[in-house]
């Protein structure tokens, strides 16, 4: 139980990553694939956060002098995650707008049928 307690975030993070990867691999619909990518990103972000997380830690703000530094969670991964989320949003927006244009051209979002560019 303590194992689970300790690693729950990592398990969750990699669970999300693998779910996302599975969706990208298996699903035919572009929208679903984009959702998969998004889930995968969420997993990666969760993973980043959990690296810096300390159980029972507080925010790394020196508001009151009695909080010692060892009890603060690491602020760097959180900063990284912010950046990663922004990047993720950009990719997502671009992907969705491309999906619209793709549908206009092909009349389908089935990636198994959109195979003009090959060989």
């Amino acid at each position: 139980m303590s194992f689970l307690n300790h690693y729950i975030y990592y398990i969750g993070a990699f669970g999300l990553i693998f779910i996302g990867l599975y969706i990208v691999l298996v699903k035919h619909n572009l929208i679903k694939v984009i959702i998969g990518l998004s889930i995968m990103e969420t997993g990666v972000n969760l993973f980043l956060i959990s690296i810096g997380y300390i159980k029972g830690g507080t925010a790394p703000i020196f508001s009151t002098p009695e909080i010692e530094a060892a009890r603060m969670v690491d602020p760097v991964p959180q900063a990284l995650v912010l950046t990663a989320i922004v990047i993720g949003v950009a990719v997502l927006a671009l992907a969705l707008s491309l999906a619209i244009r793709l549908y206009q051209h092909y009349g389908t979002l089935n990636l198994r049928k959109i195979k003009e560019q090959r060989w």
């Binding site: 572009l30 995968m40 980043l48 760097v76 990047i87 491309l98 560019q117």
Partner: protein
């Protein structure tokens, strides 16, 4: 001394200023990229003599490294930023006349962002920053591949985006693992501490980073996006993607392997991977009917050669690999630029429609010929000294294995020669003898960069010493990681 930060800040600022300039005058916006890149080129070249003595480390925020985000303008970084600026400058001149339709201000903005991202990747000393700049590069290239908005462009962009997004997730996981292990994101700091943890725990981030960056670096089998994207993008973008983007990907892979991890045990693996990439690329190109796809597959082959050379990991090998990067950047950019207007004139990418181009567009055809000769490695063009160095490096290993491998690599060259010479025959000798109909040469804005690239290919090919100094110190920067760590952390 010029601050290397300007290399990133100026194009980034100008990129976002382009829509503003658009308010003043619609004509102004397209002159911004050449100006920015010319600035970068001048700064990079002026930095070279200083960098040859000592790498310039810039800390942002005033903290000493490893506590800050830092830029490392070492010989490798400056070399790459000079290549990026040079090719970027020439291609942006080409684009002045080539990009006429669509949302041109978005094109120019994304174009500058792409180059900013590339410059950032090669100059940064921080692995998360590397990821961020990589994303800038990737996202703007997804958008630019789709710029034409046609079936092929959109399809390729979507496929490119899916693979690229997975790649960047892998990179991010790798970066997170490294941070978890070492508590730092500074590459020099990670490199310093890499031996303090068990090798097996470093292995996972290494593999993740190689795979993730390898997608952008187009290593087989991670390169399936490349032929689609390079052939569907506007030709000026193809030139940038082939001439810069994948080289930057290879740079990142090399930086990670050589400097951050010092992973000498996977060099042989790199050699084999390079060979595989080379053979697959060249063989796929062999029976292509689509000229841009042919060039794209040939890029895969060249990337294979570069990876092969870097994997040899002796100073000759790395110099050869970096030289090959220069030669590929110049030659492939030239080829795509030349092909761009040929396609524009014929309206088709089919090789068989290019017959008689020698008469219709003599200068452009000459440019194609020179670029192709250079890629095949014929003297006196720039491809020859680079191939010379790579073959020499492989033979200097004095192992039978490497002699066999280099023979296989050169077999790839034979295939490459075969398809390039076939295209050249089509340009000049195929089809009926056309009566000298009127010339349809490319406009002057295209001929200037094509001409400059041709001159550079010949001049560096004849006088390789122009670049060997910077290449030698760049190679020693890559091979001597202790020196890099010392240079950054003091």
């Amino acid at each position: 001394m010029v601050n290397p930060v300007l290399l990133i800040a100026v194009p980034l600022g100008l990129a976002f200023a382009i829509p503003l300039f658009g308010f003043i005058s619609q004509k102004l916006e397209k002159y911004i990229p050449p100006v920015a890149m010319l600035f970068n080129l001048i700064v990079s070249l002026s930095l070279i003599p200083k960098v040859l003595e000592q790498p310039i480390v810039v800390s942002i925020g005033g903290f000493p490294p490893p506590f800050c985000i830092n830029l490392v303008a070492g010989p490798v970084g400056v070399l790459f930023s000079a290549i990026i600026a040079l090719v970027g400058f020439l291609v942006s001149i080409y684009a002045l006349d080539y990009i006429k339709e669509g949302a041109t201000e978005k094109y120019h903005m994304l174009y500058l962002l792409l180059l900013t991202g590339a410059t950032g990747v090669v100059l940064t000393g921080d692995i998360f920053n590397l990821f961020v700049f990589f994303e800038i590069l990737c996202i703007s290239s997804y958008a630019l591949v789709a710029y034409l908005g046609n079936r092929a462009g959109i399809e390729s962009a979507v496929k490119y985006l899916i693979q690229g997004a997975i790649g960047s997730s892998l990179v991010l996981i790798g970066v997170a693992l490294l941070y978890g292990l070492f508590g730092t994101l500074n590459m020099a700091d990670i490199a310093r501490n890499i031996d303090s943890v068990s090798p097996i725990s470093v292995f996972v981030p290494l593999v993740l980073l190689i795979t993730g960056l390898g997608i952008e670096g187009a290593i087989f089998p991670l390169n399936a996006w490349l032929p689609d994207a390079h052939s569907s993008a506007p030709s000026s973008i193809s030139a940038i993607l082939s001439g810069i983007a994948i080289e930057v990907g290879i740079y990142a892979v090399a930086r990670v392997i050589f400097t951050v991890f010092g992973a000498s045990s996977i060099f042989l693996f790199l050699v084999l991977l390079g060979l595989l990439t080379l053979l697959v690329g060249e063989m796929s190109a062999f029976s292509q009917k689509n000229i841009k796809r042919l060039l794209a597959y040939s890029s895969i082959g060249q990337i294979g050669l570069i990876v092969f050379a870097l994997g040899i990991a002796t100073s000759y090998g790395v110099v050869g690999g970096l030289f090959q990067i220069i030669s590929h950047s110049l030659s492939k950019a030239l080829l795509f630029l030349a092909v761009g207007y040929m396609i524009y004139r014929t309206g088709s990418m089919d090789i068989s429609t290019l017959d008689g181009m020698g008469k219709r567009m003599p200068f452009t055809s000459l440019a194609f010929t020179i670029g192709a000769f250079s890629l095949v490695g014929l003297p006196p063009f720039v491809g020859f000294p680079s191939k010379f160095l790579i073959v020499r490096a492989a033979l200097a290993k004095e192992e039978v294995l490497f002699t066999v491998l280099i023979a296989l690599v050169l077999l790839g060259t034979v295939i490459e020669g075969a398809y390039f010479f076939r295209v050249i025959q089509t340009l000049y000798f195929k089809g009926k003898r056309v009566s000298p109909n009127k010339r349809e040469e490319a406009p002057i804005a295209a001929l200037i960069p094509i001409g400059i690239l041709m001159i550079l290919i010949i001049v560096i090919g004849v006088y390789p010493r122009l670049v060997t100094d910077i290449l030698n110190s760049a190679a020693s920067e890559l091979l001597n990681r202790i020196g890099y760590i010392k240079g950054v952390l003091g």
